[in-house]
């Protein structure tokens, strides 16, 4: 006994504690320091953003300065996101009572479509002036990136703390670890792996916004507010506006280069490191072990899909087989997002917690509304009365249903073709060789890039025809489809490829083949993946909805998305009320669908999961 005690203490302390924390802070601080130093050097070399870059923003020589600025914005937003995640996550996981409110509130926050937040942030930070101060623009841009980054790491922290095994907790308790020591030696190391994975997700979300948030206009010309911040995103946006393919590609390559460099220098080593801090569960059976890939590969793949769909576009030299494999490893992403989005506890929140969390959310929205309207020196009553006369509640419900029906139609189309294609890809090597590159290119084209094509094909020829309404709706559904289908496809392919070897051998040994194999094995095996893919697809669909219903000036179909876009060009007080109202309705709809459909189905999906 006397011998074993100190050695056990040592094991608990050294295997999972001090080193991570110092390593963790070291990495983070050195990351920031590196960015700062590089920024400083480049600024010194180029003499800051020269006046030339202001008058001629497409000068390729300005690129280093742009890169530094974009990266700095990302890093600042990430630092805030990390701070938020750790505070919120630890508070949620450590206090049972607080978690009753914090957990559902977090769930509400992450259900708000990110693109729907854009007008709100604009309204609050930038006001109505046509030329807002640069500092406010920077703040608005960082807040936007933050909203895209914050949720995944927060769920990561909670999942990490929840995953601490009871015996470790008991051991820590037995050796008198409390408070700050417990936090440093047990909680932070436990959180580390999840935080690395979810940070990759967070940066992916951030990169997704970069081409959007640095060059944005909001509202119609008389009241137009313009965000115009020097950065890589604006460079690409401006080049695309000028239809200069060469410069746009140049900007894209630089962006990809930065993403790759961050991946190599930070995420890869961190991912390898993170694996050491995972608590061992029961040794995996051999059959599944053969299918596991190394963390390094996992991190890269992860990033490929989420951070930069563009990346895959540039990897044409890779063999097709490698690409197929790449997709199958999406399995990993699926499991992680699943864990992040649906912590088990969320189903066991008491009623008061739920009500309180909704109340807090609605309170925040109302607070935002008051701040917005006050800053525009308008009275709230006038805004609300304007809303009441202009838009009835009935109308809001009607346009919500219209939007919803578009989403449902797009979803049904997406699900039926991806299920067929996913099974074909997974079943036939030859077909996968043919189809995967096509899909790969397809998914790397952002939905907005298809706009001109859609206008040329479906809008312009029908300008004066009675079918315009139909073609506009068709265009909208098609654009939503582009935002939905890839999530489903890649999740399904991943699931079909992820059927464990022993199950495949058993079905082969008992001669379950052809149709029976598809019906009895493949489709049930993809059921959980279809659900996860559906949740992601609906998230993508809501984002696409906001842009797809308003295809151009005076060319829109009635729905929540076009309502939101039109609201921004209305009389300020009414516009603000409408924006908040539609944001509330949108969030409520997302939440209701999650509760009524996905969460219920997910509970059933448990049976369709293979045992680890």
């Amino acid at each position: 006994m006397h011998v074993s005690r100190p050695s056990l203490r040592k094991r608990v302390a050294s295997s999972s504690a001090g080193r991570t924390v110092s390593f963790f802070t070291k990495i983070f601080l050195s990351g920031i320091a590196a960015v700062a130093i590089v920024a400083l050097i480049i600024e010194l070399l180029t003499g800051g953003l020269s006046p030339n870059c202001k008058s001629n923003p497409l000068d390729p020589l300005c690129i280093p300065g742009y890169a530094v600025r974009t990266l700095t914005r990302m890093t600042i937003a990430y630092a805030f996101a990390l701070g938020f995640a750790l505070t919120y996550g630890i508070a949620t996981a450590m206090s049972h009572r607080a978690s009753h409110v914090l957990l559902p509130l977090l769930d509400i926050f992450q259900s708000v479509p990110v693109l729907g937040v854009v007008p709100v942030v604009f309204l609050i930070i930038l006001g109505t002036g046509s030329n807002p101060p640069v500092f406010n623009q920077e703040v608005a841009s960082i807040i936007l990136i933050f909203t895209a980054m914050a949720w995944a790491p927060t769920f990561g922290v909670i999942a990490g703390i929840n995953a601490i095994p009871t015996d470790i907790k008991e051991a820590a308790h037995a050796y008198g670890m409390h408070g700050a020591r417990y936090l440093r030696q047990i909680v932070l190391p436990a959180v580390f792996p999840e935080l690395v994975w979810s940070s990759i997700l967070a940066w992916g979300g951030g990169w997704y916004l970069i081409p959007v948030e640095e060059h944005l206009s909001f509202g119609q010309p008389p009241n137009q507010t313009q965000v115009d911040l020097p950065g890589i995103g604006r460079f690409i946006a401006l080049a695309a506006l000028k239809a200069d393919l060469g410069l746009a590609l140049f900007g894209l390559i630089v962006l990809v280069g930065i993403i790759l460099a961050i991946d190599r220098l930070i995420w890869k080593p961190l991912g390898v490191r993170a694996e050491k801090y995972k608590y061992e569960t029961v040794a995996a059976p051999r059959t599944t072990a053969t299918r596991q890939s190394s963390v390094v590969a996992g991190v890269r793949r992860y990033e490929d899909r989420l951070v930069s769909p563009v990346l895959t576009f540039f990897k044409s030299e890779r063999s097709y087989a490698a690409r197929v494999l790449e997709i199958t490893r999406l399995k990993r992403i699926r499991h992680i997002t699943e864990r992040l989005r649906f912590p088990e506890r969320i189903g066991r929140i008491p009623l008061w917690g739920r009500i309180l969390s909704y109340a807090i959310f609605v309170g925040l929205v109302i607070l935002g509304l008051i701040v917005t309207i006050m800053s525009r020196s308008q009275s709230i009553e006038s805004g609300i009365s304007l809303l009441a006369t202009d838009v009835t509640a009935f109308e809001l419900i009607a346009i919500t249903l219209l939007s919803l029906s578009r989403l449902v139609i797009a979803y049904v189309i997406a699900l039926s073709w991806t299920l067929g294609a996913g099974i074909l890809i997974a079943r036939s090597q030859r077909l996968s060789r043919l189809l995967v590159p096509i899909f790969d290119i397809g998914q790397s084209i952002p939905a907005t890039a298809l706009f001109p094509l859609v206008v040329i094909l479906l809008v312009d020829p029908f300008k004066n025809s009675p079918y315009l309404g139909f073609t506009l709706n068709l265009a909208s559904v098609l654009l939503i489809l582009t935002g939905m289908q890839w999530y489903l496809l890649f999740n399904i392919v991943g699931a079909v490829n992820g059927v464990p070897n022993d199950i495949l051998e058993a079905t082969a040994a008992y001669r379950v083949r052809g149709r029976r194999f598809v019906k009895e094995i493949l489709i049930p095996a993809s059921f959980p993946a279809i659900l996860i893919g559906s949740i992601q697809a609906w998230g993508g669909g809501w984002n696409a909805l906001i842009v797809s219903e308003s295809i151009g000036a005076n060319v829109s179909v009635p729905g929540l998305g076009s309502f939101l876009v039109q609201a921004s060009s209305r009389e300020p007080a009414l516009g603000a009320v409408e924006i908040y109202a539609s944001l509330l309705v949108m969030t409520a709809t997302v939440l209701i669908i999650n509760r009524l459909v996905w969460r219920r189905l997910l509970r059933k999906a448990d049976r369709y999961k293979f045992e680890a």
Partner: protein
């Protein structure tokens, strides 16, 4: 058990080579043996290719050279006369016990009602009566393997292949199940003549088998072929078994 009759299975000069970049790995190095109406165990150090050999015998895997003959016919794909039991049980999580057992026989041209009767009979035989509508997740490891056994027996196979069937189970459960499997095999009511079991547990092999084939480390070659002529039922704690096991272990290491 008489070896004068025709062999049921003939393993002829099986080699398995995995091509790699630069150098290829030889897993099975020209292995030949005949299988009669007997309980045959294949033992060898872990990773030597025992399981690969078993998969080739069932037609789940293709040998690089050589062939497997079943009553003189070459096996190229799984046969309905061969049942397989897996180390990891390989049960379909969304099928009930009954569904998992039915899976084995529903590709045969038997009437639905008859299939149900057969499945129920074997579920009873392995002692799972009353668990027909349970899902694998609700069962203990031992019970899951009983489902695996019922599924194999429901085929009424002539040959039963077992890949480390007891190594995922706790010691006590494994001991009981070993005895039951031997009893089932000895019961004349079952048509199964040959059992081939792959294991790295030498003690288990000498306790159950009529004959033990000993494989060397990779690339696997047959280093010994030991007949175990002991009375059945055997006691797992019989000192003779320990001597036999010691002799085999010294051959492997």
């Amino acid at each position: 058990m008489s070896q004068t009759s025709e062999p049921i299975l003939q393993i002829k000069d099986i080699a398995k080579i995995y091509p790699g970049e630069g150098k290829s790995t030889t897993v099975l190095d020209h292995i030949s043996f005949d299988v009669y109406k007997e309980f045959l165990c294949i033992v060898g150090p872990s990773g030597c290719g025992k399981s690969t050999l078993l998969r080739i015998i069932d037609g789940l895997d293709k040998p690089t050279s050589g062939q497997v003959l079943f009553h003189g016919q070459a096996i190229t794909s799984p046969s309905p006369k061969v049942g397989v039991i897996f180390q990891t049980f390989a049960l379909i999580p969304w099928k009930t016990v009954l569904g998992n057992v039915l899976m084995a026989i529903s590709s045969a041209s038997i009437q639905k009602e008859e299939q149900l009767k057969i499945a129920q009979k074997y579920i009873q035989d392995v002692g799972l009566e009353g668990f027909e509508s349970s899902y694998p997740k609700e069962l203990s490891g031992g019970m899951k393997q009983r489902v695996g056994i019922a599924r194999a027996l429901a085929l009424q196979p002539e040959v039963l292949l077992m890949d480390e069937p007891f190594s995922s189970l706790d010691a006590l459960t494994a001991e009981n199940l070993r005895r039951e499997v031997v009893d089932i095999w000895r019961d004349p009511a079952y048509p199964t003549g040959s059992v081939i079991m792959v294991t790295h547990n030498v003690q288990e092999a000498v306790e159950m088998a009529d004959r033990v084939i000993v494989l060397s480390a990779r690339p696997a070659k047959i280093v010994d072929d030991v007949k175990i002529d002991l009375e059945r039922p055997r006691s797992p704690r019989d000192p003779v078994l320990y001597d036999l096991a010691d002799r085999i272990i010294s051959k492997i290491s």
